[in-house]
């Protein structure tokens, strides 16, 4: 049977297709094109040369920045997942349905304010003469340098990701069939071991997606490493900014951006494949 062209259905589909082509696929292709352009006398000119790729990928500072960004985003993701887990577990298994609804509502509230504003508020708390050091000073500790450190960067990332991770983990684990936990207990599984034996395998998909979101947001974030991390060790987003500022090197910044996207694509693909892998033969 020949597929008929359905004008009505197409009319509804076209706007989103058009939107995606215009604002996502188009710019992306343009960025790829730019990465082959050349800059002469602070002016970008159309060309097709490999010089930007060769230069960027052979520079030590690019790779330092690349691995550092993966490392610090990875650390932040790990910390977020571990910090969130006890809270999410309690909300999923111990809290009443009503309390869980309220908790999720409250966790959404941070997103009402701009992330930039929330990041700045950490200044007051983490500064050398800030709240934390003042309190530690009372018991004779410190002052500790917390701003412009890796610690500051991670704190910034967590500000962005932690509420989201708690929400995703809670929703995932709240869907775990409680009977399966009881079944494990019935078969001799100790209470804490049920987390490892039953809860984690059952919520694997949701937990991996939560971690993936956390990593993507941290990996691409510019605010936290710039304002709280002090950017002495630049992450890739800061490297992009620096590259465009120094000598109008938009093509080289494009190379960094494409490398970031390729990395995220790879990690996201692997994570989703892992998330949906099932045990046993089909």
């Amino acid at each position: 049977m020949k597929r008929k062209f359905d004008l009505y259905a197409m009319t509804w589909r076209l706007p989103i297709i058009f939107w995606q082509l215009l604002f996502f696929v188009g710019p992306l292709l343009f960025m790829v094109a730019i990465s082959f352009f050349v800059v002469k006398n602070y002016r970008m000119t159309e060309a097709f040369e490999m010089v930007n790729w060769q230069k960027m990928l052979s520079r030590g500072y690019f790779w330092d920045s690349y691995w550092y960004t993966i490392f610090i985003a990875g650390i932040s993701t790990t910390v977020a997942m571990l910090l969130a887990f006890p809270a999410s577990f309690a909300l999923a298994f111990r809290a009443s349905d009503n309390l869980r609804r309220w908790a999720i509502f409250l966790l959404i509230i941070p997103f009402f304010t701009s992330y930039l504003v929330r990041t700045f508020s950490w200044y007051v708390i983490l500064a050398e003469s800030g709240v934390v050091n003042a309190m530690l000073g009372q018991i004779g500790l410190g002052p500790f340098k917390m701003l412009n450190t890796h610690f500051g960067t991670v704190i910034g990332y967590l500000t962005l990701t932690l509420p989201l991770v708690v929400i995703l983990q809670t929703v995932t684990m709240a869907n775990v069939d409680k009977t399966l936990i009881e079944a494990a207990r019935n078969l001799g599984c100790k209470p804490l071991a049920t987390i490892w034996r039953v809860v984690l395998p059952l919520s694997k998909t949701g937990l991996i997606v939560a971690a993936l979101f956390c990593f993507i947001l941290s990996f691409g974030d510019f605010v936290a490493p710039f304002y709280l991390g002090g950017s002495q060790e630049p992450t890739l987003p800061i490297l992009i900014l620096d590259t465009t500022k120094s000598g109008q090197q938009w093509p080289r910044a494009a190379v960094v951006a494409i490398m970031m996207m390729a990395t995220l694509f790879t990690i996201a693909f692997a994570a989703i494949a892992l998330a949906y892998r099932k045990g046993g033969a089909r």
Binding site: A183, P191, R197, K278, G279, A281, R282
Partner: protein, 361 residues
């Protein structure tokens, strides 16, 4: 008589204001197939969950093999349960599901695998051992769930409506599997169900529960022929229940006058007096039907209202002159010989020994 395997002594279970089980006394003997039956909310599942340690009794004592079990945690007991939802782990293969309990008990890898495969073979699903649980059929999953519990070699197996998700012909087959297994293994089965046919088909003894209390305990035959009270008589169904007052007493039998007439019934050895209220039951399959007026003590003329066919059995619904409903169960071929039509007048009769006076209302 040997010590019972399980004893419930004055066991109560409250959930806040709600009383799930009140003052339960029950012995479960080693090697018996006990069914706990009742409608939803009667406390049968709570009773089973207390046996598995998933709920602790509010008061009273539960002993298994003489040991007080009230506070013993579920993972410290050997009381595997077959769940209504089966509760198989979807992220494990059939074999890994069966191995789970052994793994928790620290049984080595090779030994675990060998025993799991042995049980899967025994349940005739050995070929699916490495398959993902989600790809198995309802009946196959059922067998995995049974293997997962039985591989633990327990003294007692708990079953919570395990057949309720299966279609009718599969239920019959699994009933046969369960009764055969129970006889072969010689272990105690405690089987919770709302289905009378399941309980009566498989169990040695049946506990009927109502509103957190035991209404009657007995063999399926005892419960069917001589229900202890009106609740059981109605719950078991297909019973004719007649109430009236005691007209006369004569040793083992009493004459009870009801609006449908006076009938003679056997009474258990409880003290009764003339003029007291009394109720008796006659099961529908023990009532005879005839065109001619019969000679026995117990007979009543009724009008046929309707018929209900289930396979080769037919249930007649009739009405006496005072409007009381009677039920008669008979073979379809016997009905054909009678050549009955709706609104026909016909005599019902039953033997004295088939009419049982209830112990109490």
């Amino acid at each position: 008589m040997t010590e019972p395997l399980v004893t419930f002594r004055n066991v109560k279970k409250h959930f806040g204001e709600f009383v799930a089980v009140r003052e339960m006394d029950l012995d479960i003997h080693a090697g018996e197939f006990l069914a706990i039956m009742g409608s939803s909310g009667c406390g049968k599942t709570t009773t089973l969950r207390m046996l598995a340690g998933l709920e602790a009794p509010t008061s009273g004592e539960i002993r298994i093999g003489g040991d007080l079990m009230n506070e013993v945690k579920p993972h410290e007991r050997e009381t595997p349960l077959v769940w209504q939802s089966l509760a198989l782990f979807p992220f494990l293969s059939a074999r890994e599901n069966v191995e789970f309990g052994l793994k928790m008990r620290g049984v080595g890898k090779e030994e675990r695998k060998r025993r799991a495969l042995e049980w899967l073979d025994r349940m005739e699903i050995g070929e699916f051992a490495e398959r993902n649980i989600t790809t198995l059929s309802g009946g196959q999953k059922q067998r995995v769930a049974l293997a997962r519990s039985l591989v633990m070699e327990p003294k007692m197996l708990l079953l919570d409506e395990p057949l309720s998700a299966l279609d009718a012909n599969l239920v019959i087959r699994m009933q046969a599997v369960l009764t055969r297994l129970q006889k072969e293994l010689g272990i105690t089965f405690v089987y919770v169900t709302h289905s009378q046919s399941e309980a009566f088909a498989m169990a040695d003894r049946v506990v009927i529960m109502s509103q957190g209390e035991i209404a009657q305990v007995g063999s399926p035959k005892d419960i069917y022929r001589a229900p202890a009270n009106r609740f059981v008589a109605e719950f078991v169904g297909r019973n004719n229940i007649l109430s009236g007052t005691v007209a006369s007493l004569d040793g083992e039998t009493v004459t009870i006058s009801t609006p449908s007439g006076a009938f003679v019934a056997t009474a258990p050895d409880t003290a009764r007096s003339v003029g007291a209220d009394a109720t008796f039951v006659v099961s529908a399959d023990l009532v005879s039907v005839s065109r001619e007026e019969p000679t026995g003590e117990n007979r009543v003329l009724c009008t046929l209202i309707s018929e209900e066919f289930v396979g080769s059995m037919v249930t007649l619904f009739l009405e006496s002159a005072d409007g009381h409903e009677f039920k008669v169960q008979m073979q379809e071929r016997d009905l054909i010989e009678l050549d009955l039509h709706n609104d026909d007048q016909i005599w019902l009769s039953w033997a004295v020994q088939n009419a049982h006076v209830l112990d109490h209302e």
